[in-house]
Each structure stands twice: as C-alpha cells, then as structure tokens.
C-alpha cells in the first residue's frame, strides 16, 4: 500500500446529474456510511485530489469543465463514474444536449451503476478505485527506476 491509497482524497463534480446521485455521494461521507473511515477526505481542490467522483451525464456545456478538472489533478489519478447517467447517459441519453457518459470526456476507471447509485455501491467503487490507484502508483515508480 502506498501513502496515497491509505488516505486518498476525493473530489466530486456534478455533471448534468439530477441531484439524486450527488446527494448519495455526499451521503456516503456522512456518519452512517462514512467512507472517511478509510482515510478518505472530500476536497474541493482538484490539485489535492486522487479520486474523481463524477455524477451525471456529459453535456455540451460541461464537457470542458470536466476535462479541466481532470487535467488539474496530479498523477496518479482514478476516475469513478457514479450512477447510470455518468456510466452511459442513462435515461437522458436521447436528450439533445446530452453527449453521453463520463467516458465521452475523460478516461473512466470504475463504473458504479444505479439510479440513484446506492451508498454501498459508491463505497465498493471507491475501494476498487483505491486498488487501481495503487497499481498506477506502482507503475509510475517502476518506470522511474528504469530511467
């Protein structure tokens, strides 16, 4: 386990979600579900974050915002798509302003389905994300040694 996977920091951005998934993401940080017990902290600053939780579909207005947040995060970083809207566009995929799931804008590592996504699913997805974060960090270390 590397230092970052012991205490990864999250950033959450609401794409064009209906709020349902947002409040579940917030809920999973509240005392009942408490992802903070895994050392996870919610931050508002992309430069501090290791895991990017995105809810809601990508539309023409927010596609650049999402890319921008992703670009500001430092490597290694992991993206979790929370809710079916963020996975594929969900019920809104036929709407004229919706481009599709989060993977239309940035690379997604973990998909957490559900409408609204349940806090249990979010916790599961975040723990998977932590593992991926570890792998990415190990890969970066290895390529550093090669040089």
């Amino acid at each position: 386990m590397s230092y970052s996977s012991k205490s990864p920091w999250l950033i959450h951005y609401d794409g064009s979600s209906c709020n349902g998934c947002d409040i579940e993401v917030l809920d999973s940080m509240m005392p009942l579900y408490d992802v903070e017990r895994f050392g996870i902290i919610n931050t508002g600053n992309p430069k501090h974050a290791d895991i990017f939780l995105i809810t809601g579909a990508i539309n023409h207005q927010n596609v650049n915002v999402v890319k921008h947040i992703y670009d500001q995060m430092l490597e290694p970083k992991v993206v979790v798509a929370c809710g079916i809207c963020a996975c594929t566009g969900g019920v809104f995929k036929d709407a004229y302003n919706v481009i599709g799931g989060a993977d239309k804008a940035i690379p997604v590592d973990v998909y957490a389905p559900g409408c609204a996504v349940r806090p249990e699913t979010i916790i599961d997805a975040v723990l998977k994300a932590v593992k991926i974060l570890d792998e990415k960090a190990a890969k970066m270390d290895a390529s550093e040694k090669h040089r």
Partner: protein
C-alpha cells in the same frame, strides 16, 4: 481608491453541490453585483416527451431532480390525469401527499444540514443528515428506492402502502420528532448561529412581491403564499392549514420557516394517516392516446410553487411538457440579495434560497 475585481464563483466550488457559475463583481470585500451563468446541467428533458410515451415519461419527469423527485412525478401525473379525465382514488391521493410531505422533511433536513456546514457547524450538519436517514429508510421500506421512488403512475400508484407500514411511519416520525426539536432549538437559538444569519441577505416584502418569489424564500419575507392552502389532493381534508411565515426577511427568517415546516409536515402526515380511506390505489392508465388539449397544475414543492403544463395531440406522445420550478422564480431574488453583501456571506445567501439547479435547467 478601491479597485474593482471580478471573482469567478463556480461551476465547481466546494460549497456548491451543483454547478452554477456566478461572476461576483467586488470592491474590497463588498459584492457589487452578481452575474449568473447557467446551463451546466441542461439536458433537454422536456423535449424527451417526443421520444417517450406518456406512461414512460413519468420516469423522466421523476428524474428532473433527485431531491424533490416525488414532487415532479406528482405534478406531471396530476396534469396528465387532468387531461385524460382520470379520477384518482382518494387513497392514492392521500398516499401521494404523505410521500410529498416526507420528501419535504427530507429536503429540509438536507438543507438545514448544508446550511450548518456553510457556517461551519459540523456537528449540526451531521445530526441533520443522520435524522434524514430515517426518512430515506421509510422510502426504502415502502417504495423500494431511497431517492428515486418510482411509485407513481398515471392513474394512481404502482402499489399500495399497507396500514401496518403507515403505522410504522407514524412511529418513526414520533421518534425523530424528539431528536429534531433539540436540533431545531440549536438552529434557531444558538448565538453563534444567529450571529451568522441575522440581518444577512435581506429581501424586503415589497421586493419579494415584485420579484414574484415563492416558497420559503418568499415566506421568510412575510408573503403568505403556499399552494397547499388551495387544497389540492388530500390537503383539502386537513382540519386546519396555515402557511408558516416570518417577517425578518433575512437568512435567519428563511431558516426558521424551513425548520418549522418540518414539524408542520410531521403533523400533516400523522393527520392524513389517521384519516386515510380504503378505496384502492388505482393503476397504470390504459388509455391508448392522450386527447388533444392542454392542462396544468400547481403544487407546492419543498422549495415553493411549481407549475406543470402538458399538451396532448391525439397520439400516445405528449406534444409538450413544461415545468416552471421554484428556483427559477427565486434566482431574481438571489441576485438582488447578493448586492452589497460581504464576500464571506455569499455561500450562505446562495444556500438560503435552497437553489435546485438541476430542476431549473432540466
């Protein structure tokens, strides 16, 4: 001489669960003007009526907003039923209103928590959200979902909620009422809370009237406007209903109105459960097409009056669905309330209108 600068606020900002962008024109610490830019959550939901038939569209209407999702489904199905000429059984109407009041409690608790967070009272924040879980448990037990209930259909309810479950709801509400009154006492009487809320973000009665504000934002400025007093659905059978208002016109007033509405909603639910008739809950409408014509309804959402309009064209698809949300009414008031305030109070004032961007932009 003081210099002017523009601070961009959002769309990604720690206090905002939802994306909205404001350009704050500031001089020193004072905000001179706030220029909103919206559209980050726009999906084009209304136009989906052309791709989903009127029964399927309930699911889309429900997903307009995740916090008042039941209310949106309620507004849509009521308007469509009116157009189709369907008479919904009384029990279904009672259950709809019970769920609507439960949504109001959960929405207000969520909001009170977020407000506590905005002025840095972490413990209060967690307590509000802890109580809110009880309501979500009720939803999960009676409807299956925690957030999106998917229990309404055009013509009634997808399934009944039996009397034993209703009794369970009463018991749970009694349980949280005790806890809630303690929290409410802190929220309304604590000096540190008051010093952040009193006199901040004032909107006078006249301004509120002129800007046609709705919901707790208007009620906090002394406007007695609540669609529930028109007695739609089961609200007509209530012994007594009076909207809660407050005359301070500031952030504290809005907080007080919402805090007291929670208690009011608990009482309404208990009264409705005690009186509920047993005439079935109806079921999905079998009508093949929606006749030509139009109809509308107005309902009171947690954030205020919402307007739903549907127009049929003789096919199973609706010609038009239109929705006017409380937040879009209140944005004008928000921009007004932000003029001349301290920069540090901006997040809180934005919160006190309880903005719901996803329903506003759909």
């Amino acid at each position: 001489m003081a210099t002017r600068s523009i601070i961009p606020f959002g769309p990604q900002h720690p206090v905002l669960p939802e994306p909205i962008h404001l350009d704050l024109v500031v001089e020193d610490e004072k905000v001179l003007e706030a220029i909103p830019q919206i559209g980050f959550v726009h999906r084009g939901l209304e136009k989906l009526t052309q791709k989903r038939d009127y029964n399927q569209f309930v699911y889309i209407a429900e997903r307009t907003c995740g916090i008042c999702s039941h209310g949106h489904a309620y507004g849509y199905v009521s308007a469509t039923e009116k157009l189709l000429g369907i008479e919904v059984p009384r029990r279904a109407q009672y259950l709809r209103d019970i769920l609507e009041e439960l949504s109001r409690i959960h929405s207000h608790l969520l909001w009170l928590g977020l407000l506590a967070d905005a002025f840095g009272f972490e413990a209060l924040f967690n307590h509000c959200w802890r109580l809110r879980e009880t309501i979500l448990d009720i939803f999960q037990r009676t409807c299956g979902g925690r957030i999106i209930l998917s229990v309404l259909v055009v013509g009634g309810l997808a399934h009944d909620i039996d009397d034993a479950d209703l009794k369970g709801i009463c018991d749970k509400l009694d349980g949280i009422k005790r806890d809630y009154l303690e929290i409410m006492d802190t929220m309304l009487n604590d000096t540190s809370v008051k010093s952040r809320l009193c006199g901040v973000g004032v909107i006078s009665f006249e301004d509120a009237m002129e800007l046609s504000m709705v919901g707790p934002f208007a009620k906090g400025s002394g406007i007695e406007h609540d669609m529930r007093s028109t007695g739609y659905g089961a609200y007509a059978d209530l012994e007594h209903f009076e909207p809660i208002i407050s005359n301070e016109c500031d952030c504290y007033a809005r907080c007080k109105v919402r805090a007291q509405e929670v208690v009011q909603s608990i009482d309404i639910i208990k009264e409705l459960i005690a009186k509920i008739p047993h005439d079935g809950v109806g079921g999905k409408s079998k009508a093949k097409v929606v006749p030509e014509g139009q109809s509308h309804v107005l309902i009171e959402q947690p954030r205020g009056e919402a307007f739903y309009y549907v127009r049929g064209n003789g096919t199973k698809y609706l010609d038009r669905f239109r929705l006017r949300t409380p937040t879009s009414q209140n944005l004008g008031g928000l921009v007004k309330a932000l003029q001349g305030v301290d920069l540090a109070d901006v997040p809180m004032i934005i919160l006190t209108i309880d903005p719901c961007i996803s329903c506003t932009e759909r």
